[in-house]
């Protein structure tokens, strides 16, 4: 019974015992188990593409009141596999004006940072690639490498659209990294650790309930970082065709595609780890630890569904609005939220420890106050906009 409940951990221990049984030295066993773990995580990452492309196309289609892909057996669920075979057999074209070395380098390195993030994402108690003590910092640091690959792709293609896109990469991805880091900092203040598993263990109440402001900011920033519509200004179809991947075809294009979906799935798991309680689900994780990867997957799928919902609901934003929104709204709000968390964590505790739920309740009340005040300020500045002469003229013409 214990074996079934703890299936994943027991399986790992059993496999290591078998390897030791063959008389291998310790370092060899460690190397082999590391290698197998890496392969499993890699397969999970690439499988995300096969699972979430059909999901995205089906969900978006249903929201737009059309059937979506339905030819490839059954309900078009194998569409992604058909796409993969098509990509493999497509001709690969390198424009003759392009910088050949850079044009080749970008698809080689674009997927690496996206995959490396999976090393620290927790799938259950002790079901994790490696529980680094600086896990969250590792995620932020590795995630930043993504920018370099996109700039190389945009510059190396020697195409005007892709160069414009490279310019936008610099601005958008950098701007949205700041509020994201501040939200992570307020989570760390509460959990008192940077290890991803420690953060999940520290969440008696999911942090999204405790600090909805940080959760929402993080969701928006994760969408901008993963380059999802409505904030996909880097590859906006209507403005610059496909942005940095315009000159790529066949498998090279597929590498960018894989990187995007691997990134999105990783972002969804990070959100569910930091804010939705990770592998915890009302005590189910103690009852049946074998189900924890399923819980994480379901939460991540829910987050991705919300992202698709955003995509189907909102039109694409304008670029100056996007930049202004990050620097003038999200950064100050995230800073206020960080200071609020610091206050709540410190003030009531000098000698006596307070219960976590009291702390959570105080934080929630503080967050609600922040939301109300923010709404008030936005309302006032919006009224200021109405007085702007240009807008007045437009309103007058419309009347």
């Amino acid at each position: 019974m214990d074996f079934i409940l703890n299936f994943w951990v027991e399986l790992g221990a059993w496999a290591q015992d078998v390897l030791f049984g063959w008389g291998l030295p310790v370092w060899a066993v460690n190397l082999i188990s590391d290698f197998v773990g890496v392969l499993i995580l890699l397969v999970i990452g690439v499988m995300a593409v096969l699972i979430f492309t059909p999901m995205e196309r089906k969900v978006i289609a249903r929201m737009q009141d059309r059937p979506g892909p339905n030819r490839v057996w059954p309900y078009g669920l194998l569409q992604a596999l058909a796409d993969a075979i098509k990509m493999l057999t497509k001709e690969d074209i390198t424009p003759r004006h392009a910088d050949r070395a850079l044009h080749m380098l970008a698809p080689l390195i674009v997927a690496i940072p996206a995959l490396l993030v999976y090393a620290v994402l927790p799938w259950g108690p002790n079901i994790i690639g490696k529980d680094l003590n600086v896990g969250v910092l590792y995620i932020v640091a590795i995630g930043a490498f993504h920018v370099i690959a996109l700039i190389i792709a945009g510059w190396g293609s020697k195409n005007k659209y892709s160069l414009l896109s490279a310019f936008r990469v610099v601005n958008q991805l950098l701007a949205y990294e700041i509020p994201m880091v501040f939200c992570i900092l307020s989570v760390i203040l509460f959990s008192k650790t940077m290890s991803t598993q420690g953060i999940v263990e520290a969440q008696t109440i999911p942090y999204f309930v405790v600090m909805p402001v940080a959760g929402m900011i993080f969701l928006i920033c994760a969408m901008a970082e993963a380059n999802r519509s409505p904030v996909d200004l880097l590859e906006a179809d209507s403005e610059m065709v496909a942005g940095y991947m315009i000159e790529y075809s066949g498998m090279k294009f597929a590498m960018f595609f894989i990187a995007e979906y691997v990134n999105m799935f990783a972002a969804a798991i990070i959100i569910s780890t930091l804010f939705l309680g990770g592998y915890k689900f009302f005590g189910l994780e103690n009852l049946a630890p074998v189900l924890t990867p399923v819980i994480v997957f379901c939460k991540a799928a829910f987050v991705i569904f919300c992202m698709l919902w955003f995509r189907a609901t909102f039109p694409r934003v304008r670029f100056d609005h996007l930049i202004g929104f990050a620097w003038k709204f999200l950064v100050p709000l995230a800073m206020v939220n960080l200071l609020l968390s610091a206050l709540v964590v410190k003030i009531p505790v000098e000698n006596a420890r307070v219960e976590p739920w009291v702390q959570g309740a105080v934080m929630l009340v503080g967050n609600l106050i922040v939301i109300v005040v923010t709404g008030f300020i936005l309302n006032r500045s919006a009224r200021g906009l109405e007085d702007a002469p240009a807008l007045k003229r437009i309103v007058a013409v419309e009347r």
Binding site: N30, L31, D34, F35, G37, V38, L42, L88, T89, E91, D92, I93, P95, R96, A98, L108, A111, I112, L115, L116, A119, K130, L132, N133, W155, N159, K160, Y161, L163, F167, V170, N171, L174, A175, E177, I178, L185, I188, K192, M194, V241, I246, E247, M251, K252, A254, M255, D320, I323, G324, W327, K328, V331, M335, L339, A342, L343, V345, K346, E350
Partner: protein
């Protein structure tokens, strides 16, 4: 502790091999028939006019500078956040001071219209 990074090292090696495998497989399977028209730069069916590799506009550098300031700040705040529970109450005042100085910088950039995209 340091042996934790063996796993990351193995992961880096495997993740670097993965794109080579994928692109190599495609290289074996795909047709190779480039011609003059195919290898043209994509410009919606028109000839490209003028220099493509233009200079970055100066405004990108302003945003990049603001970003560097805030990113370094974040690097300083990570250890502060982890050790926060063990620090005396003074750490809170320090954080307020630190973020206050940066807020002044942000307000300055804002008032100088550096944050408006033109």
């Amino acid at each position: 502790m340091l042996s934790d990074y063996n796993f990351i090292g193995v992961f880096v090696v495997v993740a670097c091999i993965f794109p080579f495998v994928a692109l190599g497989l495609a290289w074996l399977l795909r047709p190779k028939k480039p011609n003059q028209v195919k290898t043209d730069t994509y410009e919606c069916g028109l000839q490209t006019i003028g220099e493509t590799w233009v200079q970055f506009r100066a405004q990108y550098y302003i945003f990049a500078l603001v970003f560097v300031v805030f990113d370094i700040e974040a690097v300083f705040l990570f250890p502060w956040a982890v050790a926060y529970d063990a620090l005396p109450l003074w750490a809170l005042a320090e954080a307020f001071l630190f973020l206050g100085i940066l807020t002044v910088g942000l307000v300055y950039a804002w008032r100088k219209d550096a944050l408006r995209w033109q």
